[in-house]
């Protein structure tokens, strides 16, 4: 069996991290191809539900990245986002969701190298953790699965 190739979705803002990823391209910095970028105008636009949907649809890891504090193109979108993430992480922690699979970062438009390193690090981390299956195991547990068990018994 070939090595596990994790699916990593990156939610990034248009002005800093997307531009940073472009810079990694223009400077031909190579990094793992496991990442797929979804472009948002601002980290403030990133709905926590989208993170949940990414995991539900099969992502193994998620990166959320935007402008450094004080650098937001819209001045305060990233500050609002930061508070939202603090709260979101806390609820995930309480529920026991594997928050190690979400990496938050600030990557500026000048940090192409940082972007490449971030993707590589996250890819390695998720490779080591293995596929995300916590949610797959959940559905259909109710009576239906018990029936299946009964049949195979």
């Amino acid at each position: 069996m070939s090595e596990f190739e994790p699916k990593i979705v990156a939610f990034v803002c248009n002005w800093c991290t997307y531009a940073g990823a472009d810079l990694a391209g223009t400077s031909r910095t190579q990094y793992a191809s496991n990442v797929r970028i979804v472009r948002f105008p601002c980290t403030g636009r990133i709905d926590f539900m989208l993170l949940m949907k990414a995991f539900e649809n099969g992502a193994d890891g998620v990166i959320v990245s935007g402008c450094h504090p004080n650098d937001c193109h819209y001045t305060s979108g990233n500050f609002h986002a930061r508070r939202r993430w603090i709260v979101f992480r806390s609820i995930l922690d309480l529920i026991g969701f594997d928050t190690d699979r979400i990496t938050f970062s600030w990557v500026s438009a000048a940090e192409g190298k940082k972007w490449a390193n971030l993707v590589d690090e996250v890819t390695d981390k998720i490779k080591a953790k293995g596929p995300f299956t916590d949610l797959d195991k959940l559905d259909g547990v109710q009576l239906k699965e018990l029936y299946d068990e009964a049949i195979t018994k």
Binding site: E56, F79, H80, R84, W85, I95, G96, T103, L138, D139
Partner: protein
């Protein structure tokens, strides 16, 4: 009891209210919500320490709003809810008169929301010991065990949305779960969707939940859903110093920020 009934009778008489939301004793002897529309029904009105329901949830109900001038008998959680809801610009379309019975069994009729605010701030309740104990226990578990605990709980959820119906803060005319363009959360009651629902509910109540605990109390399958929002409130106070249902023009943790908010996880 007589004091309270007399006060309410007075309010009916002088035309201050034409509907009183309060408590009566049910056949089971427990206090249950009651709706008094006529002076003749006033004698069923009671108030005891066991009056736990958060009656403010009824102020969102069209049938109740129709009455126009509404009296509401409020315990401390309800008073907090009223403060929070006022800060969220609700109630612009009703006239309400708020009553409570304090520790000395005196009946207080508040003349405006500022008085309610002052009373709430002077009598601000602590988190319940029981909730804190359960949270401590959960936090002592490993991540995997917490996951197991909650996914087991959520697998029992039948999406009856009673937790939403009973919550005074859940007053959206159309909830996100009812939004199908796009469909954020699956309609079917399956664990992943249930989990998403409860996470979303907690996020939407973070900093707005007033800790009445109604959601946990009434869950027909017994999920302690209120713990999620209790935890949120605890964290928000710790991180940002905000309290929900505390001030009429308060800082809501998620629509404000400080440039130097601290976190330890953003690389």
């Amino acid at each position: 009891m007589k004091l309270l009934q007399n006060k309410v009778a007075e309010l009916f008489e002088n035309g201050t209210i034409n509907l009183m939301i309060g408590f009566k004793e049910a056949l089971t002897k427990q206090p249950v919500p009651c709706f008094i529309e006529k002076a003749s029904e006033i004698e069923q009105l009671i108030y005891t320490k066991d009056c736990k329901n958060n009656l403010s949830v009824y102020l969102h109900k069209p049938e109740v709003k129709q009455a126009g001038k509404i009296g509401i008998l409020a315990n401390i959680a309800t008073l907090r809810a009223l403060v929070q809801l006022t800060s969220e610009n609700q109630f612009w379309d009703i006239e309400k008169t708020v009553l409570t019975v304090n520790d000395k069994e005196e009946v207080i009729v508040f003349s405006d929301m500022e008085e309610v605010e002052a009373y709430v701030q002077a009598n601000f309740p602590e988190f319940s010991e029981e909730d804190l104990k359960l949270l401590d226990y959960l936090e002592s578990l490993s991540r995997e065990d917490r996951w197991k605990y909650w996914t087991e709980q959520f697998s029992a959820c039948i999406k009856c949305y009673a937790c939403r119906a009973v919550c005074p803060m859940c007053y959206c005319p159309q909830c996100t779960v009812e939004c199908n363009q796009p469909q954020w959360i699956k309609t079917s009651a399956q664990t992943t969707g249930n989990l998403e629902w409860h996470i979303m509910r907690a996020m939407h109540l973070a900093g707005r939940c007033i800790n009445c605990g109604e959601c946990g109390r009434i869950c027909p399958v017994g999920i302690p859903v209120h713990l999620l929002t209790v935890k949120m409130n605890q964290d928000l106070f710790k991180e940002f110093g905000t309290k929900s249902g505390f001030a009429l023009k308060g800082d809501y943790a998620l629509n404000s920020f400080k440039p130097d908010d601290k976190e330890g996880f953003i690389k």
